[in-house]
């Protein structure tokens, strides 16, 4: 098991870094990630206002804030992108873009964002970076937001999954340990609307060639855990399934 210093950013690959805040008191951890490409730096789900100083400090340890050219918000919730307005103020780039689904952009605007939005549904659900690297966006409606998306990096075979594959528990580690499923179950049963929608999402996600899944909450999934979790979530009753019972 890796011994990780969570007070600093954590390299997941040579280009992808966890830049989150490890709050020992919290049951729900937020995981912003930084993808450093040749010509662009992409920040995924920058997090909340209280997490901003730590997230930004970890970003600054890697790149200049002004190097960030794109922020991806998987949906509009305050734990995902509540600090967007401060973030764009510190980044200070007039050409900064914020990528999200139109259904979320409609809501994200209310954070007082000045930057240009990149509506993924109006750009064939993908973006080509300066280096030619392509990020694909997959629409995952109602998991758990009407405009939720996940992002797939073809080059590193990494899925930035937003709230899908999230987990909630007192014991947290950045990389999933063997007993990771109960925490995933709890999160999905609390926040995902139904198994029907979750199964539909899983069937679309499993089409990707995946080496790792980086959720916005919970732990990074790698190797066999990916397929096992997808198969497990396909049958997990959640949301309305449990409420009706």
């Amino acid at each position: 098991m890796r011994n990780i210093d969570y007070s600093n950013n954590v390299a997941i690959t040579r280009e992808i870094f966890w830049v989150g805040f490890y709050d020992e008191e919290a049951n729900l951890h937020c995981n912003p990630y930084l993808l450093i490409d040749e010509k662009d730096v992409i920040l995924f789900d920058p997090g909340s206002i209280p997490h901003f100083p730590i997230v930004m400090r970890k970003v600054i340890d890697l790149v200049k804030p002004s190097d960030i050219s794109l922020i991806v918000a998987c949906h509009q919730d305050p734990d995902v992108c509540g600090n967007l307005a401060v973030m764009e103020d510190v980044i200070g780039r007039s050409d900064l873009k914020i990528a999200a689904h139109s259904n979320c952009i409609r809501l994200i605007r209310h954070y007082g964002i000045k930057s240009e939005f990149y509506a993924v549904d109006e750009h064939d659900y993908k973006i080509t970076l300066g280096s030619g690297r392509i990020l694909d966006f997959l629409y995952t409606p109602y998991l758990h937001s009407p405009g939720a998306i996940v992002t797939y990096d073809r080059q590193s075979k990494t899925l930035f999954s937003g709230d899908i594959f999230g987990a909630v528990s007192k014991e947290w580690s950045l990389f999933a340990k063997d007993d990771y499923l109960p925490a995933i179950d709890t999160f999905h049963q609390l926040y995902m609307p139904s198994n029907e929608l979750l199964k539909h999402g899983m069937e679309n996600i499993e089409k990707f060639d995946l080496e790792r899944i980086l959720p916005q909450h919970g732990s990074v999934l790698e190797g066999d855990k990916i397929s096992a979790t997808i198969q497990h979530l396909k049958t997990l009753p959640c949301g309305i399934d449990l409420a009706v019972r």
Partner: protein
């Protein structure tokens, strides 16, 4: 000796790194607070502006209401005056009407008297004819 120096140096470097990290976070926290304060100040300014505008609008509305109220008072006074004049006219008309009614009644009395007299004359004429016809 040299080990001690190395250990001390390493400790110092770590301490400096930690202090530096804390300072960076603190400065980012302050930047965040400054931004939020700026946002709050902007919102507050806009709110004050809105309140001021609203106050001005209310003041305008109030002065319009006052002038309309004055107009209504003037119209009310005018109506009152007209009402008083109408009352006087009505009283005069009532008096005139009463006088006419009195005259009418008097004429009625005269009329009845004349009719009675005509009937009496006719009676007398008839009696005279009767007496002339029967000597």
């Amino acid at each position: 000796m040299s080990e001690n120096i190395l250990r001390t140096s390493a400790r110092n470097v770590n301490e400096v790194r930690d202090i530096n990290r804390d300072l960076v976070e603190q400065s980012l926290r302050m930047r965040c607070l400054a931004y939020l304060s700026q946002v709050k100040a902007t919102l507050l300014t806009e709110t004050i502006f809105e309140v001021d505008n609203s106050k001005k609008n209310l003041k305008d509305l109030n002065s319009r209401l006052v002038s309309q109220n004055d107009l209504i008072s003037e119209q009310k006074e005018e109506i009152q005056t007209q009402l008083e004049e109408l009352t006087i006219t009505r009283l005069e008309l009532e008096k005139a009407n009463a006088a006419l009614e009195e005259k009418n009644r008097e004429l009625g009395r005269f009329n009845r008297l004349f009719i009675d007299r005509e009937f009496r004359i006719k009676e007398l004429k008839d009696r005279l004819k009767e007496l002339e016809g029967n000597p």
